[in-house]
Assembly symmetry: C2
Homo-oligomer: 221 residues x 2
C-alpha cells in the first residue's frame, strides 16, 4: 500500500469522486477491522457476489468455509477475485435530489486468494475467534483434526486495495443553498443489543459478553 495516497495499481484506482480515496495501510486496515463480513465477487463461470465472514491478520484478509463450498473450491484455485467491505454511516440529504449522497467507509480489494496450509490453519482460525470476541479462542473448544481438515481457509493480500470514505455534510450547488428544504445528515451505526444466552452456562459471563451491548461500533456521521 502507498503512503503518499497513490493507488497501488491501475485497477485499484478509484475513478469516481477520487477526493474520497485513501490507499494507505492504516486506513484500509481500520475499515477492514471494523467489519464482520465482506462480499466476494468471482466468475464461476457466471459472475457471483456472495457474503462471507472475514478477518485480518497482518496484510492478509481471510475467509473460510467448508471444503465442499463452490466458492471455496473456486477461489482456492487462484481464480481472480474482488472483495468489498462497506460500512454505511449516514444518509446525506441535500436541498436538491441530485446532490443527495451517503456517508460511508469502504474498501475494495483486487487479486486472488491462496489457501492457508494445514499447519498454519489453527493460528489463522484462532485469529477469527479473537476478532469475534477477544479471549474467545481460549473460551471455546478448539477445532479438532477432522474439523480442521473439513475447513478451507483462504487469504488475499491487502496490498492491492483502495479505501473510500465520505464523512461530511451535503454539498449543494450554490444556487440551491437558499432553497427552503431541510438539509443535513441522518447518521447510523451498528448497535449491539443485549446478549441472548443459551441455557446451561454457570458462573460469571465472559467479559466480551458483559461489554457487548455497551460497545457500539465506532462510526463517523
Amino acid at each position: 500500500m502507498q503512503e503518499d495516497n497513490k493507488p497501488p495499481s491501475e485497477r485499484a484506482r478509484i475513478r469516481r469522486a477520487s477526493e474520497r480515496a485513501h490507499y494507505d495501510a492504516e486506513t484500509i486496515h481500520t475499515i477492514v477491522d471494523a467489519a464482520w463480513l465482506c462480499h466476494v465477487a468471482f466468475a464461476c463461470p457466471d459472475v457471483l457476489c456472495l457474503p462471507t465472514a472475514c478477518w485480518r491478520v497482518g496484510d492478509q484478509l481471510y475467509i473460510h468455509g467448508s471444503n465442499g463450498s463452490r466458492m471455496m473450491k473456486h477461489l482456492a484455485s487462484g481464480a481472480p477475485a474482488c472483495v468489498a467491505i462497506t460500512h454505511l454511516d449516514g444518509l446525506v440529504m441535500a436541498r436538491s435530489a441530485f446532490s443527495h449522497s451517503m456517508n460511508f467507509r469502504s474498501v475494495v480489494i483486487h487479486g486472488h486468494f491462496t489457501e492457508v496450509a494445514d499447519e498454519a490453519k489453527p493460528a489463522v482460525l484462532a485469529a477469527l475467534m479473537e476478532h469475534i470476541a477477544p479471549g474467545r479462542a481460549r473460551d471455546s473448544r478448539p477445532p479438532d483434526a477432522s474439523e480442521l481438515k473439513a475447513t478451507t481457509v483462504l487469504g488475499i493480500s491487502l496490498h492491492e486495495a483502495a479505501a473510500k470514505i465520505r464523512n461530511w455534510g451535503p454539498k449543494d450547488k450554490e444556487d440551491d443553498l437558499a432553497l427552503p428544504f431541510w438539509a443535513g445528515v441522518l447518521p447510523m451505526r451498528e448497535q449491539h443489543l443485549p446478549a441472548i444466552s443459551e441455557p446451561g452456562h454457570e458462573g460469571t459471563l465472559p467479559s466480551y459478553v458483559q461489554t457487548w451491548a455497551a460497545s457500539p461500533a465506532t462510526a463517523s456521521a
Copy 2:
C-alpha cells in the same frame, strides 16, 4: 419467484445450508427494502465488486450513477451481473469454535441490468427519494433536465433471486453441549442517531427527520 420455495434457476439455488433458503417474493422484497445499499459484481474484464445505493419498485431493483461511471457504462451494456444485499443480525457463539456462526438476512440476485428510459427516470428516481425518507421527493428540488440526462438508472429483475436467513441460536454438536463455555447470540442492528442539520433551515423539521433517531431498523436476533 416461486411460492413453493423452489429456486427460480439452477444458478440461483442455494448450495450451502439450504435449510436457510427462501425463494418467495415477500421474503426477498422485505430484505431488499431494509437495505440502503447493495454490492454489485461484474467482469469488466477483471471481476469487480462495488457498493452502491439501491432501491426497489415492484419486482425490479434499481441502482444509479453518473453516465461516466465505469460500472454504469458496463452494466448498461447488458453484461452479466450478480447483486448481493446482506444484513448482519448477530454473532452466534457456540461451545465449539467450529460451530460458531452468524445470524443474517441476505439476498443474491442473478441476471443483468437494463437501462431505464428517459421518460421513466423521474418516477424511478422519485422512488429512491421516497425510499430514503417518505415525503422527501416533494421536500427537495427535483432533478432538472441536465441532471436527469447526466444520470444513468439501471434496473435488474428480482425474479432470479434467492434469500438466505439464519435467525436462531448456536447449534453445537451433541458431545459439546456439556462443555463449560458460554454459548449464545451477540445481536446487532442498525441504529439511527440524531439528525445533524445544516444551518439555514427554518420552521419545523420534516417528520422523517423527527422520527429518524426513534426508528431503528427492524432486525431479528
